[in-house]
Symmetry: C2
Subunit: 337 residues, 2 copies
Amino acid sequence: MRVAVLAHEMFPDRAKTAVGLLRYSDYEVEAVLDRENAGTQVSDFIADVQDAPIVAGMDDAPEVDALIIGIAPIGGGFDESWRPDVRTALERGCDLVSGLHYFLEDDEEFADLAAENDADIWDVRRPHDDLTVAQGVADEVDAEVVLTVGTDCSVGKMTATCELLEAAEDRGVDAGFVPTGQTGIMIEGWGNPIDRVVSDFTAGAVEEMIVEKGDDHDYLFVEGQGSIVHPAYSAVTCGILHGAMADKLVLCHAAGREAIHGYEDTAIPPISTYVDLYEDLARPVHETEVVAGALNTRAVDDDAAARDAVEEFGGQLGGPATDPVRFDADEVLEAIL
Amino acid sequence: MRVAVLAHEMFPDRAKTAVGLLRYSDYEVEAVLDRENAGTQVSDFIADVQDAPIVAGMDDAPEVDALIIGIAPIGGGFDESWRPDVRTALERGCDLVSGLHYFLEDDEEFADLAAENDADIWDVRRPHDDLTVAQGVADEVDAEVVLTVGTDCSVGKMTATCELLEAAEDRGVDAGFVPTGQTGIMIEGWGNPIDRVVSDFTAGAVEEMIVEKGDDHDYLFVEGQGSIVHPAYSAVTCGILHGAMADKLVLCHAAGREAIHGYEDTAIPPISTYVDLYEDLARPVHETEVVAGALNTRAVDDDAAARDAVEEFGGQLGGPATDPVRFDADEVLEAIL
């Protein structure tokens, strides 16, 4: 499927979804919409993903099957400055894919345009209606369940999950991906948006996916969310931890991060504290272990310094570690498989 | 306000809400509806709450201002066998109060009847629309925040919270109650139904209430939910723990409970494990301590045996404990105030 990805004024550093799609999805990205960088190319900013032209708006985009909203402002609202692009896309009969909290399907103008032009709107963050409470049965599936957990939001859990999945598949391992957030859901084309479900159903929404896929693969890689010590999002993390009943955990961290992003009063505790917290909290429901680590070293310029940071991180968590984007995942994969 | 409380076939043991209202609310309960116990009295079953006749249905109930649904089947659905009672109540112009997941306001027949008869429908489990993510500021309020936490669901967290609040007020302490579940919300007449909010807003929905009331009192008693090791509901518990940023915790447990209710594969870990888990998990966001315990000894016939159980529980958690319904709360209150 050919797509255009909207990322106005945020590409690439604040466009997690756009970059994730460029790096891991099967979509052919024909254009990125960013009026601030119009005339450049994706490859001017990021080296190791599919390339595409960056254009000012939908009017300058080539023919595509869908427009994907590739950014998510805090709060998940719709920025009215995007309306002309969305309107143009729908008028051209393109489908619309969005992970915003604001559902585009409920926008009267967009709904009308979609109906007129036979286009579909897929709000990936709208949970389906049949979610319910967990039964505590995710450990009954055949697959070994591997969950990424984090020290904070935006440390690279989804990226690590995708990289480990690809590395495992490269070895011929039969592995599946369980997406829990908007980008993962767009990449895979299915999944429950865990941060948007009724809080009572948090664990149940994860369990449902694991039960659905768990007998089809030897390994399931579950995308984690948030952090167990996040002042706002820990509920989501805790629900995923208990709902997934993971056999192994991979701890993800961003080099240099010292406080919870956006909550500067909340210091990042020592890595060993995270290991203890995740394992101790999981144990009464399902015994698990932090077996490896993934360190996001994007903020570290020098490869040698990045290697040092990875080594130090591995020492702190007591297992192999890597930056799966910058370096290879062999040693980490050994610990998982 | 005079009310009738519907509790068909579940009174009193499976009618947590009905019993909570009889014990702690300011409503004058004029009748309990339970077709299996029609002709008896509340006092035939429970000694220490307001008395009321038990009747077969709304047709036999005296004049009241509202009908309250006082039971919550697993899943929170509406039992169609209750429809005639609800219909009769609305036809008589009574308001309707419900904590079901199924919103009675969205039931076409009930909505029409309410409009015709100028009756209000209050679905207490419908969250308001302005909830958002936590800011991590609940620790900035003047009040000392005391949160009840549990080893499981249905161990008496709401009861303990209400008893401690009353005992504190009896001593002249200026204390407020922060309700987080349907019964607490009905008793207080306000509050966010934490188990029904969007999972991303779990902590934020608690924080909002603490910020709203935290400068009006010297102490806030926050009603906890679920358990941090519950296979289905731990997300809610974790969100309340971090959102409340409590200064002190009271651990609640039911004597004799050996496994998570409904999840018999999940053994209740040692009490000391709960103390460590709650304190360790809270610490990175806000340092807190389990200062006392509340043991529900309803399953223990003999007062002496109940005293022994309370003493053993206190020893396990390392602080004073009581059954606040059966015995006094003095020593526990000393540890809190």
